[in-house]
Amino acid sequence: MVGSIKKSKWITTTVLLMAGLLFAAPVAFTLLPSLHFGGAFPTVRQYGELLITNYSFLRFFWNSSFYAVSITLLCVLISFPLGFLFAKVRFPGRDALFFIYLIVMLLPFQATLLPNYIQLNTFGLLNTPLALALPLLFSPFAVFMLRQFMKNVPEELLEYTLMESSSLAALFRYAVWPEVKPAVTALAIIVFCESWNMVEPALIFAAENPGIRPLSVMLSQLPEDVSFSAATVYMYPIIIIFILFKETIQSSMSSFHWD
């Protein structure tokens, strides 16, 4: 009996290890060649070439950082009250409206691309940084995710807080925020990764202004000899964020409920 448990544990570890290696392989195959530059020995010369000879590529790194940070902050700020609205406020047509939200969430970005383009063109925002940020700010997924977590906030807690103070800010600050903090962190990370990796909006909404594009689009245009180090620099913020907030992501994922 003990032997079979030990054996099954061993098999589980092996399978998980293999799956882990499979997922780590692309990262390793980007990191390792970035430490080679011509010669047989590992060297950081490729990074030198990248940061000095192709120094202007860093402009796009900061472009990406600007988009990702501002989109993340504003998207969370916008989705927070909307999530509360769908989770706790009762009004006629709420469920129908939420159903529409769900459908929009399931639409791929390419499906809403043309309406987005026409709208941005009408507002005269094409080829400006706002054209890249605005479509990502209003994310149905963010609203949906926050709504799911806010449904778990007990009604009694809300009522009790409303007895203490009638301000909505106080309600959010003292009753809702402590309950959904891990969810907001996880959402912020997801939105950050999504906006860091945006390709289609950058290619289409900034077609005539390459200077405002994020790094995700410009990566392919770097010289071949520095492409691996550039990809490593590109991956770096995402990996750092994942390592720093690993526990928050795990805890919020495990407390996620669909209904």
């Binding site: 000095i52 192709n54 202007s56 790194f61 010289p223 750092i240 720093l244």
Partner: protein, 132 residues
């Protein structure tokens, strides 16, 4: 405490990126050889009754190594904020005219620019800064 240390260590590369954003262009200018390119002059020379296209280059552009004579040809490509230049090592065959001019008979095209002078040694494929 340990986590804060990790966070600080992980954010250090970001500082490095910020440093290179500010000082990259200066470092680029310091580290790369400064070269002076000249456009080759095309001449049509009659050799044994046949009109041949030859390229006149300055004598300083020729380099001799044990395996032959070569010049460095300038190659340019569009970078993000400006043109990026590099040099290509090109083996040539040349003749010296009676008046001392050097004419390349094989290895160059009429639109090529050769490096007439440089402030440090060049290598094949090296990025350079241009001084006119």
């Amino acid at each position: 405490m340990k986590k804060t240390l990790y966070a600080v260590l992980m954010l250090l590369p970001l500082l490095a990126l910020a440093f290179f954003t500010v000082h990259g262009e200066r470092l680029y200018a310091i580290n790369k050889p400064v070269v002076k390119p000249v456009l080759v002059e095309t001449a049509h020379v009659e050799v044994e009754g046949v009109l041949q296209k030859q390229m006149q280059i300055p004598a300083s552009a020729l380099y001799t190594e044990n395996d032959g004579v070569y010049v460095y040809v300038l190659e340019s490509q569009q970078g993000y904020s400006r043109m990026l230049h590099s040099v290509r090592k090109q083996a040539v065959i040349y003749t010296v005219r009676p008046e001392g001019d050097i004419y390349v008979t094989r290895g160059l095209r009429s639109s090529d620019k050769v490096i007439a002078s440089t402030d440090s040694a060049l290598a094949d494929g090296e990025r350079v800064i241009i001084q006119f």
